[in-house]
Amino acid sequence: MNLLPQIFAGLTTGSFFAIIGILLTLMAQLTRVVNFSQVAFGMFGGFVGMWLETGKNHLPVWLGAIIAAVVTAALSAIVGWIIATWLPNAQMAARSAVTVSSLLILVAAGAVLFGASHNNFKPLLPSVPITLKVGGTDLIITYNMIFLIALSLAVVIIMQLVLKRTMFGVRLRAISDRQNAAELLGVNVKALNVGIWAVSGAIISIAISFIPSTISNDYISFSLLIIPGAAAALVGAFKNMWLALVGGLVIGVLQNIIASNPNPTIAGLKDWVVFVLILVFLLWNQRKEVWDVAR
């Protein structure tokens, strides 16, 4: 069985998982939140964009996508502001719990506002395939796949540069590592926190403008793509964005290979990839611990 076509086909979903993982890592590092509603924000933005592009509104697709990104950024910023205002010194777990609420609110709001019957998201770029001949095998790549991989790379590179090479990055790291000290030095912690939330909301909304319409945008199942995204982030221990990128791509490709297995029982194990990956990470992470700590 030639796996190359499935590997390439899996890169599209994999790159989306990678973007989710990168954003989760970014949020965890800079705002001390595991944002369970990361994908739900994007999903909501996707529906806003679709609503703007269809029916009586009939805006151009690109304009709908831009407005959707702004709306998503604003919604994301509101949640960030709530956490920064009322839970500034709370533990990471408490701050993250708030995002479970926003996840549920967004799913419910989507169903109420946009209805049960709808089409999948329409990607911004045309789904025109580019065929590459590799050893007699036709490998298909699409512009949307290229963009998603490029976006994930761009986010990692730009964030690395900003965090390590700019004064602004120093402030961001300061609010992450020593929030109280940064505040005493005059850094506007709340504004930076809210800004990070807004940027992450805009990025996930942009990413969703490029995912192929092969993926169902059912409110719940789409929002739960946070799970493979979180597994990708876990590969980088919620610290390393490069590893999160690799983790996302690997999960996407592995899931695609398993899902295409002619044996339905094996194909049904597709979602186990995430579980196995998490298990492997936990074992690897604790490899040097002594027994009492490890258990």
């Binding site: 030639n2 076509p5 499935q6 086909a9 899996g10 599209t12 979903t13 209805g115 049960a116 019957s117 709808h118 089409n119 999948n120 329409k122 045309p126 789904s127 395939p129 065929t131 036709d138 298909i140 699409t142 192929p212 319409s213 092969t214 993926i215 169902s216 059912d218 199942s221 789409f222 739960l224 793509l225 899931q255 695609n256 290979i257 899902a259 295409s260 002619p262 339905p264 194909a267 049904g268 979602d271």
Partner: protein
């Protein structure tokens, strides 16, 4: 059925037990009265029937049944007794909700039959209970194998298994030599039924499919791996059995793989949202489906259209016309059986009328065959398909009829 005061009292108590989501009786009677100026409207004790539906995915069905009943009631009803539909809500493939709804219906002694049920998986969960309660179901949209293999259930539609078979038949008729098939099932019992359809088609036609994938519905709805896998078998046609949105996503996957082979999809795609979907407009191959009822713009729908025009049915934006056809036919077939009841209208007398030969066949030009409930242990009552195509870039349905009947395709009824 004797409509004495005690019976009325019992009925009102038990109706409260149902999960009623509107669409019911009194308002309907008022509407009917207004429409006809009150003259001749049925005013006797209501005859209650129930439907188990999912109002989010197929609201059209209960609305069509209610609309049909309202007009019937306005012209006198059944010997002066109006028909009332109570709607029990159960989301598609929510087995617990379907079982709970059926329990309420069965426990409500005033309910004499089920008319217009349309929830996916409902037959699989409740068929045994209906048999034990001797409750007959004039189902509107049968979606699992138990809807077609139970003595007490007869759906208006052809169902997904004949649908798949007919799509495959059309593919081979068009000259496909190596078709591939992908069928998505939500109820485990449907897996074998889909295989039966494909296996029988291969035996009858002598054409071997290049690839057959019958797979369980996925949470993430991403069937691109299956499409990619099928295409590695160099298929020259793609037979799909999935709901409308999933079919769009699979066509999108075909586009992404650079394929333009003909697609033979299930009749679930016959709706406005499908034809307006971007991947459907962009697809460079033929898209075809075997409809379960006559196409929307055919004169055979005149009576249903009249119900809509006169306000008995008020379609909302996005409603699927074929679902209204299914509800319309379920109501019509029920009244057909009701007219043949001997004596009082009870579950038993109605079941006897439905399962005897004396009410059937019922002829309606919305179908290509004569519909019958009858005494059979299985009911593939609708055996007609009407092919419509979307030519690449046309953005419209082309009628390819005439009717293609199951017998012409040498169809063998599904067994379980």
């Amino acid at each position: 059925m004797s409509f004495d005061n005690e019976m009325v009292s019992n009925m009102s108590v038990s109706v409260r037990g149902l999960k009623i989501f509107g669409v019911v009786g009194i308002a309907a009677l008022s509407l009917a009265g207004c429409a006809f100026g009150g003259g001749g409207a049925a005013t006797g004790t209501p005859i209650t029937v129930a439907a188990i539906t999912d109002s989010t995915t197929s609201p059209e069905v209960a609305a069509a049944v209610t609309g049909y009943f309202n007009r019937y009631n306005a012209t006198g009803g059944y010997k002066g007794h109006p028909l009332v539909l109570t709607v029990a809500e159960a989301a598609d493939n929510n087995d617990d909700a379907a079982a709970s709804a059926a329990s309420d219906v069965i426990g409500n002694s005033s309910v004499v039959a089920l008319v217009g049920s349309s929830t996916a998986g409902e037959c699989a969960v409740n068929s045994d209970a209906y048999e034990k309660a001797d409750l007959v179901s004039f189902s509107a949209l049968g979606q699992d194998v138990f809807c077609f293999t139970t003595p007490n259930i007869a759906p208006s539609n052809t169902g997904p298994f004949l649908d798949l078979y007919a799509g495959g038949w059309n593919a081979l008729f068009d000259g496909a030599k190596k078709p591939c098939a992908i069928a998505i099932y939500a109820q485990p019992s449907s897996e074998d039924a889909f295989h039966q359809s494909i296996d029988n088609l291969q035996k009858i036609t002598g054409t071997a499919f290049a690839s057959v994938q019958v797979i369980a519905q996925k949470d993430d709805g991403n069937y691109a791996p299956e499409v990619v896998s099928a295409l590695t078998h160099s298929c020259d046609a793609m037979l799909l059995s999935a709901d409308s949105a999933t079919t769009v996503s699979m066509i999108s996957a075909l586009i992404e793989q650079g394929a333009s082979i003909p697609v033979y999809a299930s009749s679930a795609i016959y709706n406005d949202a499908f034809i307006q979907a971007a991947p459907v407009s962009a697809y460079k191959g033929l898209i075809s489906t075997p409809l379960q009822f006559i196409p929307v713009d055919d004169a055979a729908n005149a009576d249903l259209d009249a119900l809509i025009a006169k306000g008995f049915i008020t379609p909302a934006s996005g409603w699927v016309y074929s679902n209204m056809q299914a509800g319309y036919l379920a109501a019509q077939n029920f009244i057909r059986a009701l007219d043949k009841v001997d004596g009082d209208v009870t579950r038993d007398s109605l079941a006897q009328a439905a399962r005897s030969d004396r009410a059937w066949p019922n002829e309606d030009k919305m179908l290509g065959n004569l519909w019958a409930f009858g005494p059979g242990k299985t009911h593939q009552a609708n055996t007609s398909t009407f092919r419509v195509d979307i030519e690449p870039g046309s953005g419209s349905w082309t009628h390819m009829g005439p009717w293609l009947l199951a017998t012409e395709m040498k169809w063998t009824d599904t067994v379980r």
